[in-house]
Symmetry: C2
Subunit: 165 residues, 2 copies
DNA sequence: TCCATTTACATCGTTCACGATTTAATCGTG
DNA sequence: CACGATTAAATCGTGAACGATGTAAATGGA
């Protein structure tokens, strides 16, 4: 039978299924997501070059610009990342003098991350970026909203199968 | 004004804009893509664990299962990846005895990648995966098609801004 | 023919993502 | 109070992604 696709249902007649070739991965939904993510990464890379930030670093800075002083766990939860990813990431931001890390006196297990003066100052230089990305996405307001909502549904469906605990 | 979002247009009243808080990144389209990609990675990780493959390795194997014997460049093009990503990836597949790499006699610059017996045999064990992913995505046929198409549009728009050459 | 350019592939260094494991602080229950 | 369980954070090793750079083979003019 061979149903090499993320497509739900049986072997429905997709675009390039008609040819019977299937040489590429265009029929994978996961691949469309993967490609869109790569494209975003590449776009952000060029936009963030001036700031000296990577894309995940920019996401962390954006969180802090919106609300300063967060525990490492909070940041990890917001980005769906583990400590083993977030800790080195934040240490690099610290090495760039954009954030500082201080142990919480209330709970000595917690490390609070907060913006330095330099980190706060960087926000102004980053203000233009969201609009650039929005323009580059080339989507109508309607398409934008629907796409984002579909992706969130998809993500929730995928996540719900993870830890049924 | 601060328009920290991937959203097109001006400051339209989004879901959590109403509160004025904006503490998270839910308003970023890029973030929805990033999260969906993470979720796919995590799902595939558990599905591919038995096969001993990573997600990108699985994509390469899928390409070869569909049409064997491809140049490294072909594989990179199909995955939108550069040599510096694909070469080590394929070398790891070679180390697992799933593929072999042979220099093309016609054009000595080209390295042809082809399946070993073990690589071919692995296909049977991978047959069930697409259906598992399709089920986990929990999308209707209609939603699936629309989402994939929107993502492809998005990707094309994002890519077109890259190298205007 | 000669040599600059292009093409295919590879190496190195950095960052991100994550599984496995570790340490230290706090919590909960007896 | 004691002590096992949980929680916050970190470390280590591996794989993926990519910028910068390098090498050898093929190509294309002058």
């Amino acid at each position: 039978m061979s149903n090499p696709t993320d497509r739900p249902g049986k072997s429905a007649p997709g675009a390039n299924t008609a040819t019977g070739h299937h040489e590429d991965l265009d029929d994978f939904l996961c691949f469309a997501v993967y490609e869109a993510n790569l494209a975003f990464n590449q776009l952000y890379r060029s936009l963030l070059d001036d700031l000296g930030l990577t894309y995940p670093q920019y996401l962390v800075m954006t969180l802090l610009w919106r609300r300063d002083v967060r525990a490492v766990k909070e940041i990890g939860d917001a980005l769906s990342l583990e400590y083993n990813t977030v800790t080195p990431l934040i240490k690099r931001l610290e090495a760039m003098d954009l954030v500082s890390r201080v142990r919480d006196l209330e709970d000595q297990r917690v490390v609070k991350v907060s913006l330095t003066a330099g980190g706060k100052a960087l926000e102004k230089q980053a203000r233009h970026i969201p609009q650039c990305v929005a323009d580059a996405s080339g989507l109508s307001m309607k398409a934008f909203t629907e796409l984002k909502s579909s992706l969130e549904d998809l993500r929730n469906n995928l996540k719900s199968r993870e830890e049924p605990s």
